[in-house]
Symmetry: C2
Subunit: 242 residues, 2 copies
DNA sequence: GCTTTTTGTTTTGCATGCAAAATGCTAGGC
DNA sequence: GCCTAGCATTTTGCATGCAAAACAAAAAGC
């Protein structure tokens, strides 16, 4: 639906009064971006008042949005102590990995048996476009296509519940992936794995696809963990905002 | 501080002014109970004003609670059209089943390798108490123990993320289970499966435990589906409130 | 000089108020 | 007689206001 992701990256200069009825939803998306982009550092308090001024909204919808994000696990709400951005620890990632693995394997199995020729064609197109971005060394574009491919597979699995859960987890680690700088070797390996994913999907071999996806995810998790460790090593001095 | 969280499950008769800072959390729990017990029929609008009067709270915390429940999937929020209790269709259950299966299998594998002797003893105690309730034909008590056992296994798995996701899904079908009347045969079979679960756990056979749990869940899902069909057949005339 | 207490400020949580949208009802037209 | 348009009521969504709790800093005590 929302294909207007152009202004999501750059902060809109004026926060024009958004349509009534969609305010808190927009705020959820906006806050998500802020967290993913690292503008709100993990562990830092969410400055309620400041964000209200920034977005030109009152505290009520903002607080509602925070509740939703808390339910999603992106922020933590302490009673009478406000919201903090949930810090993603290495232990968290190690917890999430087997869960995502199980979900992704399931998605692969379902997708292999259910994907249409049309869907397959779409994945194929996305895949080769992604390979192109890899060859050009365009990491950001690569990530976007990568994500789209996984979303397509989830879509092809035809299980909204599965998709929602997976996306929820993926959203939590997206910030770490955002700042991850893959090594050239790891990147090349990820592309190879994606070749295998496409092959298994075209062969409609669900078991194999599930296994490959799980392995692929393992590597992704390693990347995320390394990124987290690097960030921790650098110290959380990005937290000092104002 | 206030450590009186003992009466969380039982409904407090009077909605006395709850402690500041815990209001919306309490409301989430309260609304959950209302939905599970069927007082708020699936598909019916959530009467905001009415509930405010009932709980003696203003609309702000109630709306916040609804946002959380919406994120959990128990209610659906339509823009400018308020909240409706999410109707659980048979298709939904059929979607949720493989996901819960994958999660439960993972939980079983993890629990089998990680459970302590003490944890095992607790599960054993719960199990035999549950068997007792089965022999006495006490369905409600049986369900409670059953749920506690599964929670213990999840706890033993030592993966909070996994537990949270599973509990979220389980919460969505809890209402259907609440009104489910198992046949004597199915009930007996469920108890047998629980025997096998305990045995596999004691043998610390993760693979077998995972498989058993998945199978057990399958039967549980059949029960839920039957209950849903029975409810649909009876007609949603419980929705006509006023 | 250090700890502790007390006070002032900020922040949080909830209640309330008001405008826009939706819902229901009545009247008018075909 | 049925359908549609207009109006009134209800409901929803957001902004604002106020009291309590947390945070921070300064002053008092040791």
């Amino acid at each position: 639906m929302d294909t207007e992701s152009a202004e999501k990256r750059g902060l809109t200069p004026f926060p024009e009064p958004v349509a009534r009825g969609a305010l808190h939803d927009r705020l959820v998306a906006r806050l998500r971006d802020l967290i993913i982009e690292g503008e709100l550092s993990p562990g830092a308090r969410v400055p309620e008042r400041e964000l209200c001024q920034r977005f030109q909204v009152s505290r009520t919808p903002l607080r509602e949005a925070l509740k939703v994000l808390a339910a999603d696990g992106l922020v933590q709400l302490a009673p009478n102590r406000g919201a903090r951005v949930a810090a993603l620890t290495v232990a968290d990632v190690e917890e999430m990995f087997p869960v995502m693995g199980a979900l992704e394997a399931l998605a692969g199995e379902l997708a292999a048996s259910r994907i249409t020729e049309e869907g397959l064609a779409e994945v194929r197109a996305l895949h080769y476009q992604m390979v192109l971005h890899h060859k050009r060394g365009e990491l950001a574009a690569y990530f976007r296509l990568n994500q789209q491919i996984h979303e397509k597979i989830l879509e092809a699995a035809g299980n909204a519940t599965l998709a929602a859960l997976y996306q929820g987890l993926a959203g939590r680690i997206r910030r770490a992936r955002y700042l991850a700088n893959m090594s050239a070797r790891r990147w090349a390996r990820a592309v190879e794995e994606h070749e295998a994913i496409l092959a298994a999907l075209e062969a409609r071999d669900g078991t194999r696809l599930g296994a490959i996806l799980e392995d692929h995810l393992k590597n992704k998790c390693e990347t995320v963990k390394e990124a987290l460790l690097a960030e921790q090593r650098k110290g959380g001095q990005a937290a000092s905002n104002s």
